[in-house]
């Protein structure tokens, strides 16, 4: 029972990890930018949620749409105001620019909110649990997070493979030059893509903030988790990312059974082992 419990908790935690990873994966897929500031952006929107709920006193479910809209605007602005000016011919430059953004964000949050851990509260839903099997209780909130992760991945898949905008995304991802030659406004595609990425970031941020504590320095851990989920799953495969997140979640929960300090280390170790065994990930998009 203990084992099954760990497994279920780990799988559900994996949903949250997959949510962390979606934006990172999408941004890399479309723009070939690995956004080192991804984790810090997640934490920044957790603080945005905190401001709205704590200081303005609006309950989270009511404020969430506004926060997501704000996130989309922030994404558009980040692309329009910064990343558009970053030459991407040499992958070094966007990487180091994102690194600078990460350090700036961390320290802005430190100045604004201090180093104390914070948390969002969602009232009764947070504590509620259901008994799915005899003696196996699962938090309702964890189930909601997992369901949202699955829904978001499904939605993004539909968007990428079924809509005109998705076609544009794939075209730009394949070859920016060719897409531009065919008359696609690649700049607009990039701006919209960044806006969508930031919406996923904000969703992940709010759920993370309800689930546990965060502080200005917790961005890098989120980035590393997201990165590991993507690499385990195989680059470019969103369902693979969910699988990667689940593997990491189970590994962390199993590690936590030994000792709290083993939780993070166990996740990293499983990642390294899988990287050695399956360097292209579990579900590589392109064969071979």
């Amino acid at each position: 029972m203990e084992l099954l419990n760990t497994l279920v908790q780990g799988v559900l935690l994996g949903g949250l990890f997959a949510l962390y990873a979606l934006g990172l994966s999408l941004l890399f897929g479309v723009m070939r930018i690995v956004n080192i500031a991804h984790g810090d952006l997640i934490v920044a929107f957790a603080y945005a949620g905190l401001m709205v709920t704590e200081f303005l006193g609006i309950p989270l479910p009511a404020a969430a749409p506004a926060i997501l809209l704000l996130a989309a605007g922030a994404g558009w602005l980040l692309q329009r105001g910064l990343f558009e000016f970053v030459p991407r011919r040499d992958p070094l430059i966007p990487l180091l620019v994102a690194f600078g953004v990460s350090i700036i964000l961390q320290n802005l949050m430190l100045m604004g909110f201090g180093a104390d851990p914070q948390k969002l509260s969602l009232g009764a839903l947070e504590q509620a649990s259901v008994e799915i099997l005899p003696e196996l209780h699962v938090g309702v909130f964890s189930l909601v997070v997992f369901a949202l992760a699955v829904a978001l991945i499904g939605g993004l898949q539909l968007m990428i493979y079924r809509t005109a905008f998705g076609r544009a995304l794939r075209a730009v991802s394949d070859s920016e030059e060719n897409a531009a030659m065919l008359g696609l406004d690649t700049r607009a595609v990039f701006r919209k893509a960044f806006a969508i990425v930031m919406v996923t970031v904000a969703i992940a941020a709010l759920l993370m903030a309800v689930r546990g504590n965060f502080d200005p320095a917790s961005g890098p851990t989120r980035l590393l988790t997201a990165f590991e989920a993507i690499v385990i799953g195989g680059l470019g495969s969103m369902w693979g990312t969910l699988a990667g997140g689940i593997i990491l979640g189970v590994a962390q929960m199993a590690g936590a059974q030994i000792d709290a300090s083993w939780q993070v280390l166990a996740g990293h170790l499983v990642f390294l082992v899988l990287l050695v065994l399956r360097p292209r990930g579990l579900f590589p998009k392109h064969g071979g």
Partner: protein, 362 residues
């Protein structure tokens, strides 16, 4: 392509040795400690630059080797009972051996993913260091006094010796980089940095060259980590494996000073130490300023401060050769082939495609 001669960098190095080596006879202990810190920072920055600026390998995990060197030094002296000098020398092969499996794992990933992968490995090493039995766990442990005393019985004597030791190591690191960059491998490296496929077609094995650089830098970083413990006098996971000190600051130093040039990290490190003196009280503001400066530098001049003289020279030369009317020029550059605007460089930077070398290294 004209091969730059190593004479100028070697002459600069010789001059630096001539000035810095006798300095302890003229300056006080405080200055010496300050300079020792600077030497270690410059050496670490040079090694990051060797990987990123010359080799195109961006690592966000080089602090792993600094920490591993510190822990190895402690282990060799306290647990194996080795003489401190022997222990310090042994951190070099230790670092080289450690970097082999690290590189083997990381080489499966491409540029940007390599960077985050190296970060994961550094995190793993830091967490593992806190679990090693006999190394003080999470809170760390102090160096034994007799180990420290081996570097000089009295404090002034020790400060002097550590000054010379760190300057000698810095000089060797710089000498190594100069010699490598002007060797056959160094030219292969430049070819690889400019165009990996073309380099491979010419018979350069990019993975082997990168592995060599990575192992060399891992070995020397371990030594620097051991040296740094002599300054700090204790090891602990978060301090010895400090991401901020040994990766964040180092990246900013190299980016602002000038990536891909030997003089770049020196300029960056001197600026950094001077600024730290005056601004470190500001805490987060200082970090924000550094981050913004690094971003601005990457966008404005990816070659950093060290590339500015060349940039101004180019601009003057461009002005002499009758420029096209302003509007016309702007129209030419407004949109590049991909329809991106703004990302078109203001001045045509030599690219791999044009077959021209990257801007001079010095």
């Amino acid at each position: 392509m004209k091969m730059p001669s190593p004479a100028l960098p070697l002459a600069c190095l010789a001059l630096a040795v001539a000035v810095m080596a006798p300095l302890p006879f003229f300056v006080g202990n405080g200055t010496m400690r300050y300079l020792t810190d600077l030497f270690i920072i410059i050496a670490v920055a040079q090694l990051w630059n060797l990987l990123a600026g010359f080799g195109g390998v961006v690592s966000i995990g080089q602090h792993a080797f600094i920490g591993a060197g510190a822990y190895a030094f402690y282990g060799f002296t306290a647990h194996l009972g080795l003489h401190p000098f022997a222990a310090m020398a042994l951190t070099v092969p230790f670092g080289a051996l450690l970097s082999l499996p690290v590189f083997a794992i990381l080489s499966r990933m491409r540029v940007a993913y390599f960077a985050i992968g190296s970060w994961v490995l550094a995190e793993v090493m830091m967490l593992a260091a806190g679990k090693l039995p006999g190394f003080g766990g999470g809170s760390g442990i102090s160096l034994r006094p007799e180990i420290v005393r081996a570097f000089g019985a009295r404090t002034p004597e020790r400060i002097e010796n550590i000054y010379w030791l760190s300057f000698a190591i810095l000089s060797l690191v710089v000498l190594f980089i100069i010699l490598v960059m002007h060797s056959r491998r160094g030219y292969a490296l430049r070819a690889m940095r400019d165009n990996e496929n073309a380099a491979m077609a010419l018979g350069v094995n990019p993975v082997a060259v990168k592995a060599m650089l990575f192992v060399a830098s891992g070995a020397m970083l371990s030594l620097l980590g051991a040296l740094n413990t002599l300054q700090k006098l204790r090891i602990n996971p978060s301090g010895s494996f400090s991401l901020t000190d040994w990766t964040v600051f180092i990246i900013f130093i190299v980016v602002i000073g000038g990536m891909g040039r030997i003089i770049g990290p020196v300029i960056g490190a001197v600026l950094f130490v001077l600024l730290r003196e005056n601004l470190s009280d500001l805490g987060p503001v200082y970090m924000i300023v550094l981050g913004a400066a690094a971003i601005g530098m990457m966008l404005w001049e990816p070659g950093g401060i060290a590339a500015l003289p060349q940039r101004w020279k180019d601009r003057r030369a461009a002005r002499r050769t009758a420029p096209a009317p302003r509007l016309w020029r702007r129209a030419l550059h407004f949109r590049d082939g991909a329809g991106r605007c703004g990302s078109a460089p203001r001045r045509a930077r030599p690219t791999a495609r044009s077959g021209a070398p990257r801007p001079g290294r010095w």
